[in-house]
């Protein structure tokens, strides 16, 4: 546990960003293993084509557009889900090796493996 490795979920509302489209924040979980951080994001209705993951300046942004596969011209009798795209913004300082981020999307669940940067791994210091 080092104080330098911080993953802070940030709330970014569409209005505050000035984005023209509404977004909603998906359910997600973060866990840690020795060499990597694992992020699991639940993105129901998002296909591989609608998913975009970027990592820039210590900000990992996940955007997923829902691919609705229903015929046109339907009348909604009852709605609980939203058609808004998913957006999740996680900030990490440079504790993650951005070249080694792996992502897998299966059945609406995105699993990310963020390899820790060498500098963030615990190091044993030899004493002379």
């Amino acid at each position: 546990m080092s104080m330098f490795n911080t993953l802070i979920p940030s709330f970014h509302r569409a209005a505050a960003n000035g984005d023209p489209y509404p977004v909603c924040r998906p359910q997600f979980e973060v866990d840690e293993t020795e060499g990597a951080y694992g992020v699991t994001v639940y993105l129901p209705g998002v296909s591989k084509e609608g998913l975009e993951i970027t990592d820039e300046d210590g900000e990992l942004r996940i955007t997923g557009k829902r691919a609705t596969k229903l015929p046109e011209g339907l009348a909604a009798l009852h709605r609980e889900s939203s058609d808004a795209a998913f957006e999740l913004l996680l900030t990490h300082d440079s504790a993650v090796d951005t070249a080694k981020i792996e992502a897998e999307l299966k059945d609406g669940v995105l699993r990310l493996a963020l390899a820790k940067a060498e500098s963030a791994k615990p190091r044993k210091i030899a004493i002379n």
């Binding site: 546990m1 080092s2 104080m3 490795n5 911080t6 993953l7 802070i8 979920p9 359910q27 979980e29 973060v30 866990d31 840690e32 293993t33 639940y42 993105l43 129901p44 209705g45 998002v46 296909s47 691919a67 596969k69 229903l70 015929p71 011209g73 339907l74 009348a75 909604a76 009798l77 009852h78 709605r79 609980e80 889900s81 299966k106 059945d107 609406g108 669940v109």
Partner: protein
């Protein structure tokens, strides 16, 4: 390491550092058992995991569609049944956290209109979304009657 997470804030409250301490209720045995289970289950009840899931219902002239968001569920762990005019959807998701794997189950009962052909119901699961198509009976479909005027 600093993590801000919003799941299961009560996980540790079952075992406070000083044993049960002053938090153990002084009531009768029933209160104590309720307290014990209430604490143990608090993490599940308060979280968005497990239990219910969002459901949408749509309709066109031929079918009624029920759409459920069930990300990360295997197809063979989904059960769709029609019982007494209700559509029952059950699903189980295996969640891995480190070495341990826990099964989270979901279920939901949706009332469906009477005019559904129960034997022709079909379901599809794609990208974590289950869509159940319920065809309407012929007599329930809107009919166009042409009246010839002489």
């Amino acid at each position: 390491m600093r993590f801000i997470q919003y799941t299961n804030p009560n996980t540790l409250s079952i075992a406070p550092a000083s044993g049960f301490g002053g938090r153990f209720p002084r009531g009768d045995i029933e209160d104590q058992i309720d307290w014990l289970f209430g604490t143990a289950l608090a993490g599940f009840a308060g979280s968005a995991r497990g239990g219910q899931f969002p459901v949408d219902i749509f309709e066109d002239k031929d079918n009624t569609y029920v759409r459920a968001e069930l990300p990360g569920v295997k197809r063979d762990a989904i059960g769709v049944e029609i019982v007494d005019g209700s559509l029952s959807i059950q699903a189980t998701r295996n969640e891995k956290s480190g070495e341990a794997e826990t099964a989270v189950s979901f279920n939901r009962l949706v009332s469906i209109p009477d005019e559904v052909q129960a034997d022709k119901v079909s379901a599809a699961y794609e990208n974590g979304v289950l869509t159940v198509t319920l065809p309407k009976k012929e007599e329930a479909k809107p009919k166009k009657i042409t009246v010839s005027v002489n």
